[in-house]
Amino acid sequence: MPMIVAGNIRKLYLPVIILLVIFLFISDILTGSVYIPFNSVIQLISGKSADNPIWHKIITDFRVPKAMTAVLAGMALSVSGLQMQTIFRNPLAGPYVLGISAGASLGVAIVMLGLSPFFGHVNIGPISNWIQIVAAWTGSAFVLILILYASLRIRNVMTILILGVLFGSAISAVISILQYFSHQTMLKAFVIWSMGSLGHVTRSQLDVLAISVLVGLLLSVISVKMLNAMLLGETYALSMGLNLKLSRVLIFASTSILAGSITAFCGPIGFIGIAVPHITRLFLRTADHRLLLPSVMFTGAAIMLLSDLLSQLPGSDYILPVNSITALIGIPVVVWLILKRNGRFYS
């Protein structure tokens, strides 16, 4: 009997979660410090002009980009977490805990702080967005390769985790040094960025972000079969005919782009990447990435939208940092994982 139930959940999960994402998306646009009636929101989303031009501006310039960013961030971070958990065979892997987001931050810091003394703060429009995002990808890929190098030698899951934390701390130290020597105005911009926010993404940044995340997700769809083979470890994957180098390049490119892009524009957002794959697996009880990948994608979007909704404290003017909300959702999942598997990590 439980098998039949599990089978049904496997069939129903994706449609239900997609509906949930749509519902949360609309709710997210409806909430904010200014009250805008439901009908006007629907009118505005469907392209008609509203009675109130300020509402129009709030919706199209602030709330829709923010909700879109939440969806993109949720999808990108959770898929990158899923890929890392599979490729490192480490249930505690994620872009934040293993320092991948920190690597991306370093890339951004070098662009924002390191280069400004030489060139000043010149806004060169869309190109600067691309420079920022490519710097973040490079930073992510750098840490990812370090972690791969370490995990080829060390099997212990916890040791890798500690190494990730150490890499993250070392990178933060470098960023602090950069901050110390940088100009006041740039420093302020960087500090605001580093607090992490979905709401600071501009329209032109959103385009860059959307294109990048789509490319990252496309790469991960292409590597779905490789991810399945990698579940059994590299030796088995090789014995089944997997091209290990090609898979690693594809999956690492995808992970770096996904985690790096979000970090580039939203700042480091923690614990979504590690927690969402586990929440999804808890419902689906499968390791098949053909089902897991789309499910993780939409679960990530739903949880990110929910975090954003919670961060706005309905009925008040305060906006909490979205970082704190994701941490409060994600950390209990990580704690549960460690308690549940206590002992199995030390093999």
Partner: protein
């Protein structure tokens, strides 16, 4: 003569190892060769047992034959194709591989695990055709794990997991299956169950099986041919051949154990202390001598007897009477007798 030639052509070898050197390239210390100049061959449908001491290169040899590790020199040929020159996918259609490596990933069901065996045959996203599904079903039925299909592999016992991994290799539909210590971590009934399965695969389904093991009883009883790693070389032959030529004994050089040719039993070498003469009931004598050997005491030997034991039955109850100097003690179990003999040894030591 004509007959022999006929036999050779009828059973042409499937796998050839030609002048293989096996080992590792270490960035710091250069080449580390484990086995040198190995020439071996395997016929289709044979089951080969690989034995050797820890660190002798068993796993590396198996990984090399499976194409997962490059030899330092020489060639591995399967069906006249060089294993290390064909593409990964083509190789995966020829050779399946099962190791003892633990699978860490959570939430893999047995179904999904076995389905992964179809990896070399499916399209880019891994869609299973009806043929694939039939092959997966057959693999599951052949290994007898039908009831476990929906189970998470982390819930399986070691024996069940090993069967599931073999089913995955079967779904890969290869002529050759290589297994690295398939009976490690298993209890005795499970070990023989796995071996019976491998035997069926070889002798009924014509799969060629190469497996390594530390269990010499299994290797000796359940292999068509043994490969015995000794001193960087491999001795090859039917298990019985290796016993007749004393090759089997080489495994035990510089070790605490030895092999008894007559009983094909492995026993521990002990320091010889002295003699205790045993006489009486045949069966009781046998078990009594066995227990005495544990103490380093033999029933007949060069030294004068320390004491003598007479075994027999009194009122349907086994008894042992121990004659030492001028005393006689009666015991009613081997355990008590041994305790009595230990006392005597202590007395002689102190004197």
């Amino acid at each position: 003569m004509i007959n022999t030639e006929h036999n050779q052509t009828a059973t042409k070898s499937l796998i050839h190892l030609e002048y293989i050197d096996i080992g590792y390239v270490r960035p710091s210390s250069g080449l580390l060769a484990l086995l040198n100049n190995i020439n071996l061959s395997v016929k289709a449908g044979e089951i080969i047992g690989l034995v050797g001491r820890n660190g002798s290169g068993k796993s590396t040899l198996l990984r090399t034959i499976a194409g997962l590790h490059h030899p330092l020199g020489g060639k591995v040929l399967i069906n006249d194709q060089t294993v290390h020159e064909i593409s990964g996918i083509e190789r995966a259609k020829l050779i399946g591989y099962v190791s003892t490596e633990q699978i860490i990933a959570d939430h893999i069901r047995v179904n999904e695990l076995v389905a992964l065996g179809r990896f070399p045959y499916t399209n880019w996203i891994g869609t299973l055709s009806d043929d694939d599904k039939t092959i997966i079903d057959n693999a599951i039925n052949m290994t007898g794990i039908n009831e476990l299909r929906e189970k998470n592999i982390s819930q399986l016992s070691d024996g069940e997991r090993q069967k599931a991994m073999i089913a995955r290799a079967l779904a890969q539909n290869t002529a050759v299956i290589i297994l690295d210590e398939p009976t490690a971590f298993l209890d005795l009934p499970n070990r023989y169950h796995i071996l019976r399965l491998l035997n069926e695969l070889a002798h009924i389904h014509q799969k060629t099986i190469i497996y390594s093991t530390h269990d010499l009883n299994i290797a000796f009883n359940e292999s068509d041919k043994l490969w015995l790693i000794y001193n960087g070389k491999i001795l090859e032959g039917a298990p019985e051949d290796l016993i007749i030529t004393k090759g089997f004994h080489k495994l035990f050089e510089n070790s605490d154990i030895d092999f008894n040719n007559n009983t094909s039993e492995i026993f521990m070498r002990r320091t010889y202390i002295g003699n205790i003469h045993v006489q009486g009931d045949r069966e009781l004598n046998y078990w009594t001598c066995r227990a005495l050997e544990r103490l380093g005491l033999l029933s007949a030997g060069d030294k004068p007897a320390l004491a003598s034991v007479i075994t027999g039955y009194k009122y349907n109850k086994a008894f042992w009477s121990l004659h030492y100097m001028n005393t006689i003690q009666d015991f009613f179990s081997v355990y008590d007798l041994i305790s009595g003999i230990k006392n005597i040894i202590n007395i002689t030591k102190n004197n």
